[in-house]
């Protein structure tokens, strides 16, 4: 059968569409490509561009689930991203050379109680050592999900973990305003890394603990 020659851009677009289209949709690629034999010039190019768009849509369609349910591998990356930095910061704060566990009466008297606002700083430090527990606990639940598929089902614990960095951030902000300094752990980077990301991680783990909604086949095409 003599088929008219396609122009180079049309042929290139169709070749790309063929490569991108999932295998089970191959018949549809053929269907779209055949139509270009009945078109010419700009119409054929527009049609071929549509083929490419269709192939891209078909490639992405299975990824769009409309939920926040993720694979365990994605959760591993998310866990490290959400809790990793906060965990290091918390560990340093609690157990580092100037960590809370190394505080003693002499240090507290000399460096905190004897300086203006030092008591508040001390309270914040101890507070962060406690509220920062969101990081190790979040890391534990995240890794547990990766290994076993079990998320954070205890909602009270989840909300407590979320409330802790919020309270800490508010307290830090009040302290900063009171003392006229912005060096009290309320910088944007610190808030994002040690409060916002862990909170999002916990929220996601709580979401994953909810039973998945049953898939209702309405028999209707979406959109």
């Amino acid at each position: 059968m003599n088929r008219p020659r396609r122009s180079l851009p049309v042929a290139a677009l169709l070749r790309l569409a063929r490569r991108l289209m999932p295998a089970h949709r191959r018949e549809w690629t053929e269907a779209m490509q055949v139509e270009t034999h009945y078109l010419s010039g700009a119409s054929a190019t527009r049609w071929a561009l549509g083929c490419l768009i269709t192939a891209i849509k078909a490639r992405f369609a299975p990824m769009h689930t409309g939920t926040f349910r993720v694979s365990r591998w994605i959760m591993l990356i998310e866990t490290l991203g959400c809790f990793g930095t906060a965990l290091l910061a918390w560990f340093e704060f609690a157990f580092g050379p100037s960590g809370v566990v190394r505080l003693n009466g002499e240090v507290i008297d000399k460096y905190f109680l004897a300086t203006p606002g030092g008591g508040y700083v001390l309270a914040l430090m101890i507070g962060f050592a406690v509220t920062g527990l969101i990081a190790p606990i979040g890391m534990y639940f995240g890794l547990r999900y990766v290994l076993t598929g079990r998320a954070l089902a205890n909602r009270r614990l989840g909300w407590a973990l979320i409330a802790a960095p919020v309270i800490q951030s508010v307290a830090g902000s009040i302290g900063s305003l009171w003392m006229g300094t912005d060096d009290w752990g309320t910088g944007l980077e610190l808030l994002v890394l040690c409060a916002l990301l862990p909170i999002l991680g916990i929220l996601h783990l709580m979401y994953l603990a909810r039973p998945a909604a049953p898939v209702i086949n309405t028999g209707l095409a979406p959109g």
Binding site: E27, G50, I53, K57
Partner: protein, 104 residues
């Protein structure tokens, strides 16, 4: 109670074109011209309708000499019922919005 979802305007447009002559086989370019939908919009809708059993398709030899067979489409009985249901939903929605406008 399970609610019936309304299709998009583009899907309704396509259903309308297919319903104009429900027993006739339509090829893609025909449908594109009739609906004004570009191929990148038209084919994903055709695929969805086909996946849900609303559309049947086959290869039809071309009547033009030297041209390849074309993929052609028409609604199944289930598809016709679905189209009618969708048009009814649209009418209801239209009636509701008209009533709302007249009340206002």
């Amino acid at each position: 109670m399970q609610r019936t979802r309304r299709s998009s305007g583009q899907t309704l447009n396509l259903l309308q074109s297919l319903m104009d002559e429900p027993r006739k086989w339509h090829h893609g370019y025909d449908l594109s011209k009739a609906t004004g939908l570009l191929s990148g919009t038209l084919y994903p809708i055709l695929m969805r309708l086909s996946d849900r059993g609303f559309l049947e398709h086959k290869w039809l030899p071309s009547q033009e000499q030297g041209r390849p067979p074309r993929h052609v489409y028409r609604l199944t009985a289930q598809g016709v019922a679905h189209a009618k249901q969708q048009f009814a939903l649209c009418d209801e929605a239209g009636a509701v919005s008209s009533a709302t406008v007249s009340r206002a």
